[in-house]
Each structure stands twice: as structure tokens, then as C-alpha cells.
């Protein structure tokens, strides 16, 4: 993973007992189409441990109530649990202040929030936003929308044949009109880990703030927003063993404070009259309406779960799976890895000669192996490599060597089936 992740990886990570972990995820113990399920679509979404499912269930069974308003006991309990989750996220990201943690639906909403609130209030026609070619559509389209509204322009840093950011080219794009750098911490399509710390340093030297899209990074190694010194960090709970519909925008307090609200409604106000509304303080200013309370509590439980295993141990386990998978993949003639960055998260994107990724996906599914096939919402990456899409296996804490072997056996079967 990134520099920070790297340092951690070299520490003695406590070994992870994968069978114990798997017992926490009952969904994994099933057969699919008569074969044991090998769930290798974790970059799309991860499965949820019992602790998370139970936390949501307990909320609905025992203290379902709206937050921040009620004087009654259940509401206080719900509010406490919701705000406790915020503190857990703060600790998880090592943010300075809990009010720097804004709950949103996911990474997509977090980036849209920054584009619409910070971008619309700060940027002028001709101002430039620098992205990388590795971006997920959710870190492209919000900036294009902003461009239509304000006249800002996108600059895209290229990648090399290994799928790594070309850092010198990136530096060249930072110019007098650059107002923001918005890049993936980890590429969802290729697994490339961007040199986040170096990117932030280079941007800050020129007074440019940085948003990191952490959707693919947060579950796979420790993230420290103070060490990274990024200005915004976006992540999705559901890729981190938490429920769907809950995510986080971290923003430095000075920046968030200066930003106008982007949605109006309840909870984001202090006083309202028809003449004038005074907004609430951070982070509530950005949390209009009743939020996803159960999901937020579930996210808190997921972070506890992850902390219990240890992100260092998770990172080491996944690195070993990736090593094994990469080694096995290189033994298969006609299988080509797309994305071979030196610093890579546990994502194996590949193409098979003469077999379309969609067909690969169907045949692997018939073997119980769940992967993703297609452009992975990163069409510019596919265009860069001149392919319509890839098949992508992505690993998580509960995956095993045996599942990697099942993947490779299914790939061989697909090749045989297609007469390759």
C-alpha cells in the first residue's frame, strides 16, 4: 500500500486466523451453483460480519429513535450511538477532531459534497482541477458537473503501462490555475496504490488542497489523514464491512467551516425564520435530514471489528493472497494481468486471450467464483489499455489460498471451454 501502509506491512503483523474470521461471515458458508462460494468481488462490496448485522438489528429492536432532538431515553441512546460512531471514524482515520467527520451515503456523495459546496463557492471559470487517469467515474463526473456550472477545467495525469501514476507528468500539470487535486488513494480497476503522501506534498507546496478518494484504500491498510495531510478524504462503509448507504467525508476543519451547506433541511440549522436561517455547527451543517442512523451504527461496529483483527494483519493477509494469485496467474498461458504496479492493493485485474471478460464472469460464476467483469466504472482506464473491460478478482480479510486456487482452476476451465 502507500508509504504509510508500506511501513506498517514491514512490522511484524500478528498472524490472522482466516477460519476464525470466516466464522464471523455466515454468508460465505454457502454453495453457489453447487460449488462452494468463493466471493472475490470485494472491491465492489464486502460481506458483513455478524457484529455489524447485530448492531443494526439491536438498534431497530431496542432503541430505534430519531437523533439530536428527542428528550426521551431511546432518542438519547440513538444519539449516543450515532455520535460514538463518529468518534470511531475519527480514531480510524486519526483525524484531529470529531467534527471533521461528516456522514454521507458513500464516497460518491462525499465527492459531490466537496464539488458542490467547496467547488461552487471557491472556483472560477478557467480554474483547474487535476485528476489522474485512474479515477473511478465518481471522481470524474462530479467535477464535470462542477465544470458545467462554474467553467472549471479538468487536467488528467497519465499512467504508465503498469498502471502507475506518471508522477513527473502529474507535477507538470500543477500550474498557476490549479485549485484542487482529486485522486484515488487506490485504483478500483487496477489496484494501483497512488503515492498519496508525495501527491499531497507536491500540491501543498503550490498551495493546492488535495482530495483523496479512499473508497478502495480504507479497508486494506491503516489510513492516517494527519500523516497524509490530505484536505479531504472520502470513503464508503460498504467496502469496509459496514452496511451500504453510509460513508464518510473527512475534511480539515478550517475548510469545512468556510464551506456553505449543500443541502438544506432539518438538523443542519440553528434557527430558521422566513427572513434568515442560521446554520448549525460542524459537522451537522452538512447532515441535513434524518441520516442513516442504523447504517452509521453499523459502520461503527465494522470499525470495531476491523480494529479487533488489526489493519496491519489484514494488509499482510491480503498482500499474501495477492502474491499467491499473481504468481499463479503468471503460470497460465493466455492470461494477462492488467495493472502491475509495484505498490498494489489486493486487486487482480486480468484479461484472457480470446475470451471476453463478460464470458469469463459467467463461466467463473458457474464454478462458484464471484468476480466482477466490465469496465469497473473506470472507462478511461480501459481506453488507456485498449480493452473493453477486464475480469477483476478482489480480496478481503476472509479470503483464502484455496479460493485463489479455485479462481485459477475456474480460469483454466473457461479457457478449455472456449477451446483456448
Amino acid at each position: 500500500m502507500s508509504a504509510i501502509h508500506d511501513e506498517v506491512r514491514h512490522l511484524q503483523a500478528p498472524a490472522l486466523d482466516v477460519e476464525t474470521v470466516r466464522a464471523d461471515f455466515p454468508i460465505l458458508a454457502q454453495t453457489v451453483r453447487g460449488k462452494p462460494l468463493a466471493y472475490l468481488d470485494n472491491a465492489a462490496t464486502t460481506q458483513k460480519p455478524l457484529a455489524v448485522i447485530e448492531a443494526e438489528r439491536r438498534y431497530y429492536l431496542e432503541y430505534n429513535s430519531n437523533i439530536h432532538r428527542g428528550v426521551h431515553l431511546l432518542s438519547q441512546k440513538a444519539t449516543d450511538a450515532y455520535e460514538a460512531a463518529r468518534e470511531k471514524v475519527r480514531r480510524f482515520l486519526n483525524a484531529r477532531h470529531a467534527e471533521e467527520i461528516v456522514f454521507v451515503r458513500g464516497t460518491t456523495e462525499a465527492i459531490n459534497l466537496v464539488a458542490q459546496s467547496w467547488g461552487r463557492s471557491q472556483l472560477k471559470p478557467g480554474d483547474e482541477i487535476v485528476l489522474s487517469l485512474l479515477e473511478h467515474h465518481s471522481n470524474i463526473v462530479p467535477w464535470q458537473l462542477l465544470g458545467q456550472q462554474t467553467g472549471t477545467v479538468l487536467k488528467v495525469a497519465p499512467i504508465n503501462d503498469a498502471g502507475e501514476l506518471m508522477f513527473e507528468e502529474f507535477l507538470r500539470l500543477l500550474g498557476p490555475r490549479t485549485r484542487l487535486v482529486a485522486v484515488a488513494h487506490v485504483s478500483n480497476a487496477l489496484g494501483t496504490v497512488n503515492p498519496a503522501r508525495a501527491i499531497v506534498e507536491a500540491a501543498h507546496e503550490r498551495g493546492v488542497p488535495v482530495l483523496l478518494d479512499g473508497a478502495q484504500a480504507a479497508a486494506h491498510g491503516p489510513v492516517d489523514v494527519q500523516a497524509l495531510d490530505c484536505d479531504f478524504y472520502a470513503l464508503s462503509g460498504h467496502k469496509l464491512y459496514a452496511p451500504t448507504g453510509i460513508g464518510v467525508l473527512y475534511g480539515k476543519r478550517e475548510l469545512l467551516e468556510a464551506m456553505p451547506p449543500w443541502q438544506g433541511g432539518g438538523d443542519m440549522i440553528r434557527t430558521v425564520s422566513f427572513d434568515k436561517t442560521e446554520y448549525n455547527v460542524l459537522p451537522h451543517k452538512f447532515e441535513a435530514g434524518t441520516p442513516n442512523i442504523a447504517g452509521t451504527i453499523g459502520l461503527g461496529a465494522a470499525l470495531d471489528y476491523v480494529a479487533g483483527i488489526g489493519l496491519e494483519a489484514i494488509a499482510a493477509h491480503e498482500a499474501e493472497l495477492l502474491r499467491h494469485a499473481t504468481e499463479e496467474a503468471r503460470r497460465i498461458p493466455g492470461m494477462r494481468l492488467v495493472g502491475t504496479a509495484r505498490d498494489k492493493a489486493a486487486i487482480l485485474s486480468f484479461v484472457l486471450e480470446g475470451i471476453h471478460p463478460h464470458d469469463v464472469g459467467t463461466i467463473l460464476d458457474s464454478e462458484g467464483v464471484a468476480i466482477r467483469a466490465g469496465h469497473h466504472c473506470a472507462m478511461p482506464v480501459m481506453t488507456r489499455f485498449g480493452i473493453p473491460g477486464t475480469a477483476r478478482a478482489s480480496f478481503a480479510v476472509y479470503n483464502t489460498h484455496a479460493e485463489v486456487d479455485a479462481l485459477m482452476a475456474a480460469i483454466r476451465k473457461a479457457q478449455k471451454f472456449f477451446g483456448r
Binding site: 451453483r33 471478460p357 463478460h358 464470458d359 459467467t362 463461466i363 458457474s366 466490465g374 472507462m379 473493453p388
Partner: protein
């Protein structure tokens, strides 16, 4: 259910053959109708070229990138519609669509196109098989916006 059996139902020999050697593949220089189709789900795209003459599909070609199912479907379609009157082609489109999507439709005689009936058991792949047909339909209507499977 027998899994490999289903897979064989989906990927019949005829489909492999048309995937490896698509018929009527390429650009049609004297086409008077062209339409593009796009499957946003997987990024597949297809362009269908038609030469209409006297209410008939005098010639047809297609090009693009797609999976085995969509390539074979486009290839089989091109063979099935070549030389046919436009009304018959539209009727064929409706019957084909019904075969793949609708459980309760008695199968009409679709000839060689019936090798694609196995797609019905793979709902996520239905759009692969129908994309070329939607594109053809748009070409017949003279629509210029890209056909999509959504």
C-alpha cells in the same frame, strides 16, 4: 440444476462458431442506415449498417466489441435478416425478444436464432443478446441516438 449443462445450453457450438468467425462483420460502404448500440453495463458497443432497398434489407453488416453472446447474436441476426422485407425483420425482432425475455410465450419458429434461447436462464446476459437487435431496430427507424440496453 446441472450447471455445466446450463452453461452448455448458453454456449452452444453454433455460438462459439459465430463468435470466432462472425458473419457479415465489418463496415458496409454503401449503407443508407447506420445505428450504434451501447451496453453501459459492460462497455460493449456495436454498429449496425443497413442497405435498405425497396422495403427490404438488401445488405447488412456490423462491427464492434462484445462478448461471445453479443457477437454471436449480431452475427446470427445479420444472417437472419439479410434479404428480408422490413416488416418481417421487425416481427423477427419481436419474436426473438419474446423468446429470450418472456417465459410465457410459445416459441415461434426462429430457425437458427433458437440457439440463443439458453440466454433466458442467465438474466444478466439477456442484454448481451438483445443489444444488436435493439441497434438494428433503431437503424430501421432511422434513429440517430445510440441504442442502449437500459
Amino acid at each position: 440444476m446441472s450447471d455445466t449443462g446450463d452453461l452448455r445450453e448458453l454456449y452452444q457450438e453454433v455460438i462459439f462458431d459465430h463468435n470466432r468467425h462472425p458473419r457479415n462483420f465489418g463496415r458496409l460502404a454503401d449503407a443508407n442506415r447506420v445505428a450504434e448500440g451501447h451496453n453501459p453495463l459492460c462497455g460493449d458497443n456495436v454498429t449496425v449498417y443497413l442497405k435498405l432497398e425497396g422495403g427490404r434489407v438488401a445488405d447488412v453488416k456490423f462491427e464492434g466489441q462484445g462478448c461471445a453472446i453479443s457477437t454471436a447474436s449480431a452475427s446470427l441476426m445479420s444472417e437472419a435478416v439479410k434479404g428480408r422485407p422490413v416488416e418481417e425483420v421487425e416481427k423477427l425482432f419481436r419474436s426473438f425478444h419474446a423468446m429470450i425475455v418472456d417465459d410465457n410465450v410459445a416459441p415461434e419458429d426462429l430457425g437458427k436464432l433458437e440457439v440463443l434461447s439458453g440466454v433466458k436462464e442467465f438474466p444478466v446476459r439477456v442484454k448481451c443478446a438483445t443489444l444488436p437487435w435493439h441497434t438494428l431496430h433503431n437503424a430501421l427507424l432511422g434513429k440517430h441516438e445510440a441504442a442502449t440496453t437500459e
